[in-house]
C-alpha cells in the first residue's frame, strides 16, 4: 500500500513577485505604501552611484591600482532594494559583491576603495554601518548571520539580520546548516539569495536540479519567495515584509537577477556563456526600467541626471584620492592578531625592523 502522508506538510508552491516591469510600468496593487517619491529617487541615485563606483574600480584594477575585483553590474536593484528596506538598527552580512549595500548603509567610500586596493584597514567597518566586512569563502557567512540573529533575539533588540548569498553559495554546506539553525530557533534572519545565474563559469541549472533556489527553504521549514531581482520595488517590498515578520520567523528571498559582467576581474565570461543571453538580460536592466518609470511620472529629467552624475563622479574621485593617500603600517599586521602581542610576534616584528627587511 502506498499512501500520501505528506500532502498536508508539503505544498510545492513558490510565489514570484514583480512590481516594476521592464518597460517601467508598475503593478499598483503591490506597490509598497511607504515608498514615497523622494525615496524612489534615492533608490535611483544609489543604483547609479553603485554602477559608477563599480566602473571606477574595474578601471583601477585594469591599471593596477586595485586588486582582483568582483563587479556588481546588473545587480543594483537586488542590493539597493533590500538595503533600503532595512531599518536603522538592522544588520547585514554580505558576501563579496554587495558594494551597493555598503553604499546605502553609509560606509565611508574611501574605506571601500582601501579594501579593494588590498588593505585590511578597509575591513574596519564603522559600527554605525551595522554590517560585517566582506566574506570571501562562499556561503561561510550564513552561520555568522545566524549567530548575529541569535544575539538579537537573546538580547531582545528587535533588530533583524540580512544575509546575502549567491546562487553558487546555496550549494555550500554552510548555507544549509545555517538556514536549518535559523528555522529551528525561529531567528530574525532574512536570507537574500542574489541569484545572478552564474557562479564563475557554472550556470544556475548546473548548480542544482531544484527548480528554484527559494524552495530550499521548504526543506528547513522557512517561508520563501522569488522576486524579480532587477525590480527594485519588488525587492524592497519582499525585504520589508520579511523584516516585519522577522520577530517570529526567518524568510528566504530569491532575487532573480543577472551578473552582466565577469565573476571577477580574473575571468573572461565570453569563454563560458553566449552573448545572446547577456543581450536578453540587458533589456531587463534594473536602472533603465526605474529611469523609464521616473521619466513617465515626471520625477526626473536630463538635467537632474547630468547633475547627479557630476556629483557622483566628484565623490568617487575624492574617495579614490583619500584611499590612494592611505599609508599602510606593517606594524598593524602584528598588533591585531590577538588582543595582546605574544612574544613570538614581538620578536618577528623587532627582527624585521632591526634587520631592515622592509626597506625596499
Amino acid at each position: 500500500m502506498v499512501v500520501s502522508l505528506l500532502s498536508e506538510v508539503y505544498n510545492g508552491e513558490i510565489k514570484y513577485m514583480q512590481i516594476l516591469d521592464e518597460n517601467g510600468n508598475v503593478d499598483a496593487s503591490l506597490f509598497p505604501k511607504d515608498l514615497d517619491d523622494s525615496k524612489i529617487i534615492q533608490m535611483y541615485k544609489y543604483m547609479n552611484f553603485a554602477r559608477a563606483i563599480d566602473a571606477k574600480l574595474l578601471s583601477m584594477q585594469r591599471q593596477g591600482r586595485a586588486v582582483t575585483y568582483a563587479p556588481l553590474l546588473g545587480e543594483e536593484a537586488t542590493q539597493v532594494g533590500s538595503a533600503m528596506a532595512m531599518r536603522p538598527n538592522d544588520f547585514f552580512v554580505p558576501s563579496f559583491r554587495q558594494h551597493a549595500v555598503y553604499l546605502v548603509r553609509g560606509l565611508p567610500l574611501e574605506k571601500h576603495f582601501i579594501y579593494w586596493r588590498g588593505f585590511e584597514d578597509g575591513g574596519a567597518i564603522p559600527k554605525e554601518v551595522r554590517g560585517l566586512p566582506v566574506t570571501v569563502p562562499v556561503g561561510s557567512q550564513v552561520p555568522h548571520a545566524v549567530g548575529l540573529a541569535y544575539a538579537q533575539k537573546y538580547k531582545k533588540t528587535g533588530s533583524a539580520v540580512l544575509v546575502y548569498v549567491g546562487d553558487g553559495g546555496t550549494s555550500e554546506g554552510d548555507f544549509y546548516e545555517g538556514i536549518n539553525f535559523a528555522g529551528v530557533f525561529k531567528l530574525p534572519l532574512v536570507v537574500i539569495i542574489e541569484n545572478n545565474q552564474w557562479a564563475i563559469s557554472v550556470p544556475r541549472r548546473m548548480q542544482t536540479a531544484a527548480q528554484t533556489l527559494a524552495q530550499k527553504g521548504i526543506a528547513v521549514g522557512i517561508d520563501s519567495i522569488q522576486v524579480d531581482g532587477n525590480d527594485v520595488f519588488a525587492v524592497y517590498k519582499a525585504t520589508k515584509d520579511a523584516i516585519e515578520a522577522s520577530h517570529e520567523k526567518p524568510t528566504i528571498i530569491e532575487c532573480i537577477t543577472y551578473r552582466m559582467s565577469m565573476h571577477t576581474t580574473a575571468d573572461d565570461p565570453t569563454k563560458y556563456r553566449e552573448d545572446a543571453e547577456v543581450e536578453a538580460w540587458k533589456r531587463k536592466d534594473p536602472i533603465d526600467r526605474l529611469k523609464k518609470y521616473l521619466y513617465s511620472r515626471n520625477l526626473w529629467d536630463d538635467k537632474k541626471e547630468n547633475s547627479m552624475k557630476e556629483e557622483q563622479t566628484k565623490a568617487i574621485e575624492d574617495a579614490v584620492r583619500k584611499a590612494e593617500e592611505f599609508k599602510p603600517d606593517p606594524k598593524s599586521m602584528f598588533e591585531h592578531v590577538y588582543s595582546f602581542m605574544p612574544e613570538i610576534l614581538k620578536e618577528e616584528y623587532d627582527e624585521s625592523i632591526r634587520e631592515n627587511f622592509w626597506q625596499g
Binding site: 544588520f91 552580512v93 585590511e120 584597514d121 575591513g123 574596519a124 567597518i125 564603522p126 559600527k127 560585517l132 566586512p133 566574506t135 569563502p137 561561510s140 550564513v142 552561520p143 555568522h144 548571520a145 545566524v146 549567530g147 548575529l148 540573529a149 541569535y150 544575539a151 538579537q152 537573546y154 554546506g173 554552510d174 546548516e177 545555517g178 536549518n180 539553525f181 529551528v184 530557533f185 598593524s332 599586521m333 598588533e335 591585531h336 592578531v337 590577538y338 588582543s339 605574544p342 612574544e343 613570538i344 610576534l345
Partner: protein, 319 residues
C-alpha cells in the same frame, strides 16, 4: 574534584558572572553532554543559554562566531575533536582572522571546548590529538590542561579574554584522578608553561595526557629531570623552555599526537634556534606513530607508554 567537575564548575561560575556567556553544542542540554561536562546547566540557566543544536559542526562554530561578533561570549562544544574538522574552515578562515582582517574593529571572543586524545577504547574518530593543526594558525589560542585545577582556571581565563580559544580536554583525564580545586573563581595564565618538577640533568617538555605518564616514570626512576607542562600550546611559553634547556642541556619532548610535523617538531626547532649550543645531546621526541589513530584494539601499541618514555630517558642520559 575531577576534571569533569572542575570544568562544569567553571562553566557555572562564568555563566553566573556574565549573562553574555552562552553554551551551544550537540546533546549538551538535556543529556548534559556525552561526558556529562555540562550536566545540570540547562536547569540552572535555561534553553536560551544552554542550546541543544542540530547536528552541524560548521554551523555550531560559524554561529558562535556570529554571536561573538554581536558581543556575546559563546562556548561551543564540539562533541569530539574528530568531528571538528567539519567546522575547520570556520575556525581557520574566520575565527582566527576576524581581528586582523578588520584591524580589531571586530573581535571573536569565544572558547571552543572539545574532548581530545585516546586511551579509553573509543570508536574511530573519537580519540584525535589535532592540536598541531590549530596551533599552526596565528589568531587562535590553543590550550590543553593536564589536571582539574588547571582545567578550571584556564577555562575561566579563556572566557575572560577577547580571543578565540581552543580548549582541548583530554578524555582520559576527565575522571582519572581528583584534586583539591577551589570553589571560587580563579585564573590560570594562558601563554605560561608550568615547571611541575625541578631538575638539573634533563628537561622533559610535555602536556595533556602525557604529563602523568612522564611524572610516573621520573618519580619511579628518580631521574633529576625538570618537567615542563606547557599548558598553552599556542602561543608557546618559549622563554621558560629555553631557560630550562640552557640549565640541563638535554631535552625530551613527549606528546600523544602523531610524530611527524607535530607540536614536538616546533618545540625542537625553537630550541635549535635559540639554545643549540647548550645541548649535550640530540633532542628526542616520544610520540605516537606517523599514521592516524588506530581502532581501540590497537591503541596500546600506538599511544606512548611509560616504557617508551623510560627508554628515551635512558638513551639521552647515556649520550
Amino acid at each position: 574534584m575531577n576534571m569533569v567537575g572542575a570544568i562544569n564548575n567553571a562553566l557555572e561560575l562564568l555563566m553566573k558572572e556574565n549573562e553574555n556567556v552562552i553554551l551551544l553544542g550537540e546533546d549538551i542540554g538535556k543529556d548534559g553532554g556525552v561526558f556529562r561536562v555540562t550536566d545540570g546547566l540547562l536547569d540552572k540557566f535555561g534553553p536560551e543559554r544552554v542550546i541543544d543544536t542540530p547536528l552541524a559542526e560548521s554551523a555550531i562554530l560559524g554561529t558562535s562566531i556570529g554571536m561573538a561578533l554581536a558581543g556575546l561570549h559563546p562556548i561551543p562544544e564540539i562533541q569530539f575533536a574528530g568531528f571538528m574538522y567539519e567546522g575547520f574552515a570556520q575556525l581557520i578562515n574566520h575565527a582566527a582572522r576576524y581581528r586582523s582582517r578588520t584591524r580589531s574593529a571586530f573581535q571573536v571572543p569565544m572558547t571552543v571546548r572539545t574532548p581530545v586524545s585516546g586511551g579509553v577504547r573509543t570508536l574511530e574518530h573519537h580519540a584525535e590529538s589535532p592540536e598541531a593543526f590549530y596551533s599552526h594558525i596565528g589568531g587562535l589560542i590553543v590550550v590543553e590542561p593536564s589536571n582539574p585545577y588547571d582545567a578550571k582556571g584556564l577555562l575561566i581565563k579563556a572566557v575572560h579574554m577577547n580571543d578565540p580559544v581552543l580548549f582541548l580536554e583530554p578524555t582520559k583525564l576527565y575522571r582519572l584522578f581528583k584534586q583539591e580545586v577551589p570553589e571560587d573563581m580563579y585564573e590560570v595564565e594562558i601563554g605560561k608553561a608550568k615547571v611541575i618538577r625541578e631538575g638539573k640533568e634533563l628537561t622533559i617538555i610535555t602536556y595533556g595526557t602525557m604529563v602523568k605518564v612522564v611524572q610516573n616514570v621520573v618519580e619511579r626512576k628518580g631521574t633529576d629531570a625538570e618537567i615542563i607542562d606547557i599548558v598553552t600550546i599556542n602561543p608557546l611559553d618559549e622563554s621558560k623552555i629555553i631557560e630550562s634547556v640552557k640549565k640541563t642541556g638535554r631535552v625530551i619532548i613527549v606528546h600523544e599526537a602523531e610524530h611527524s610535523f607535530g607540536v614536538g617538531a616546533e618545540i625542537a626547532a625553537r630550541i635549535a634556534e635559540k639554545a643549540i649550543y647548550s645541548l649535550d645531546a640530540p633532542i628526542l621526541r616520544v610520540t605516537s606513530h606517523s599514521f592516524p589513530y588506530p581502532f581501540p584494539g590497537y591503541e596500546q601499541y600506538y599511544i606512548p607508554n611509560e616504557i617508551k618514555v623510560e627508554k628515551a630517558i635512558d638513551k639521552i642520559m647515556s649520550m
